[in-house]
Amino acid sequence: MTPRLAARGLACAYGARTVLEGFDLVAEPGTITVLLGPNGAGKSTALRALARLLPPRAGAVTLDGREIWRLPRRSFVREVAFLPQIEVAAWPMTVEQLVLLGRLPHRGWLLPYSARDHEAVAVALAQVELTDLVRRDLDSLSGGERRRAMLARALAQEARVLLLDEPGAHLDLRHQTELFLLLRRLTRERGVAVVSSLHDLNLAAIFADRAVLLSGGRVLAQGAPREVMTPELLRAAFGIAVEVIPHPRNGAPLILPVFSEAGAGKGLEAPAGVPAPDEILRPAEVPYER
């Protein structure tokens, strides 16, 4: 069963610089938790701490109640997979080789890969729709394809907890959406727990079961997306005025930046040609240029 990855009172620092404080989180099995916040807020740090890459300065990260740094590394990585923001394979490697490496936690570094490993790779590739590109060199792929290959590597690990840092970066709209649909399927059908940082607030609003809003290394708010993504909290985190409207189809919060607001809030002067706030059109009324 999916183990429960949790952080309590987590604080992290790089040298003398504290970058995260008082971070609490529980990655409930079967849910998608997203970490939101501006650059430098501590999202990547939190993920790395959760992934057992960065030892905490204070507080603890536990897996099913046991402190992860007391666990043998090998058993931890079988349960928890991590996809960093930037994963550079500077050396020529094929997609298949890369995804096969995801089997390391299970196979070890010595024994040859088994049929089971190849099976897991095939499944992972199918999940990200890269089956046709399996023999291609990584550097001959587009940025998005490469990202999906790396995601496949994390999936091939068959871990029950997925920690993803900006998984949607470089992906086009369709693939971003498909990615999160895939993650949702994994959580609903297999009980996988996902913790992901995300820049796209709207995507987060649609897919997240829980949201954690970070700013300056601290948690501003935590809870259901609707509760966390309010104009006040978002302005406090991002320093920009936003308007939140309900999604026309499913009522999820849609976040739109506001260029200038008379009276309250910080905003930017709208460039010429961009409609003033009272003129922001509803999506259905946007005229299409051909």
Binding site: P92, T94, R135, R136, D137
Partner: protein
């Protein structure tokens, strides 16, 4: 299948086939005559690994014993006709050729040949190391070689002759006090400017010829010096070997080295000697000595008979 593995696969196979053909070609290259003419029955078959040793052996009338020499062995002229086994340093001596001559004895000078000597010995070949770097080495080598080849009487005669000539020179110049001995600069090479110290053959000969090597006291053997240092020590005589990368005469030498200001250049006392002779610790060192001594003390030492090694 990605293109990366198909393309070079075939061309690589062709290239490797080509290389294999080359390997077969190499196998058919080389090869020297194996059967060697027998040397005189009383003399052992010898391979000499240095020109100085070759010269000494010829001087002992044992030239017929040589069945293999280095490619630098060019004196006496008969040596040029002997089969070559390589150079005089480790890595340039071909073991197969040395062994192929079936020598009873290989004579080496040792320095720069350590690996060759040990390898040959390991292969069961008898090797005698006879150092020949300095004047004293020569005096020790001659009797030793005489014993090794059974030419003891000739060795004694040769030694006596050489030592006699050295003694005559020594006596002739013995009355000249050290401070009156001419300052000598030996220019081994011009760019960079290099000289020879007292621990070399030529350095030793210059001293015994009654000269003062202006750089005799330096460390090492062939150190690099600056033209200013030479100018400061103001040599009265310049001696240089003739292999400065090309034929050279006195004037060119002085110009190239920037030594026009020294006394030796002003007075025209520049002696060019045959490079091979002054670097070989062999029987001709007496010729060099007499030549140098005459140049340095013309009134005390008569000109050598055959012109010696002057160029």
């Amino acid at each position: 299948m990605s293109g990366a593995t198909r393309g070079p696969g075939r061309s690589l196979l062709w290239a490797l086939a080509g290389l294999l053909t080359l390997a077969a070609l190499f196998a058919s290259l080389g090869g020297s005559a194996r059967a060697a003419p027998t040397a005189g029955t009383s003399l052992p078959r010898l391979v000499s690994l240095a020109p100085s040793l070759t010269e000494m052996l010829f001087a002992l009338d044992a030239g017929d014993a040589l069945v293999g020499v280095t490619r630098y062995c060019d004196f006496p002229p008969a040596a040029k006709r002997l089969p070559r086994v390589g150079g005089i340093e480790d890595g340039s001596i071909d073991f197969e050729r040395v062994l192929g001559r079936k020598p009873d004895l290989v004579i080496a000078i040792g320095e720069g040949q350590e690996r060759t000597v040990s390898a040959l010995r390991r292969l069961g070949q008898r090797v005698e190391v006879v150092p020949s770097q300095t004047v004293d080495d020569v005096f020790r080598a001659i009797p030793r070689l005489g014993d090794l080849v059974g030419r003891r009487a000739a060795a004694e005669r040769l030694l006596a002759d050489l030592q006699g000539r050295f003694e005559r020179v020594r006596r002739a110049i013995s009355k000249v006090p050290p401070e009156r001995r001419p300052r000598v600069f030996y220019e081994l090479w011009d760019q960079p400017l290099m000289t020879a110290t007292r621990s070399t053959l030529i350095g030793g000969l210059i001293e015994r010829a009654g000269g003062r090597n202006i750089f005799g006291d330096l460390g090492g053997r062939y150190p690099q010096v600056s033209p200013e240092a030479v100018l400061a020590r103001d040599p009265q005589v310049i001696v240089a070997p003739d292999h400065h990368g090309g034929p050279i005469d006195a004037r060119t030498l002085v110009e190239r080295s920037g030594l026009a200001g020294v006394e030796a250049a002003r007075r025209g006392r520049i002696l060019i000697v045959e490079g091979n002779v002054v670097s070989r610790a062999g029987p001709r060192i007496a010729d060099v000595l007499e030549l140098l001594a005459h140049e340095l003390h013309p009134d005390l030492v008569p000109a050598p008979a055959g012109g010696g090694a002057r160029r």
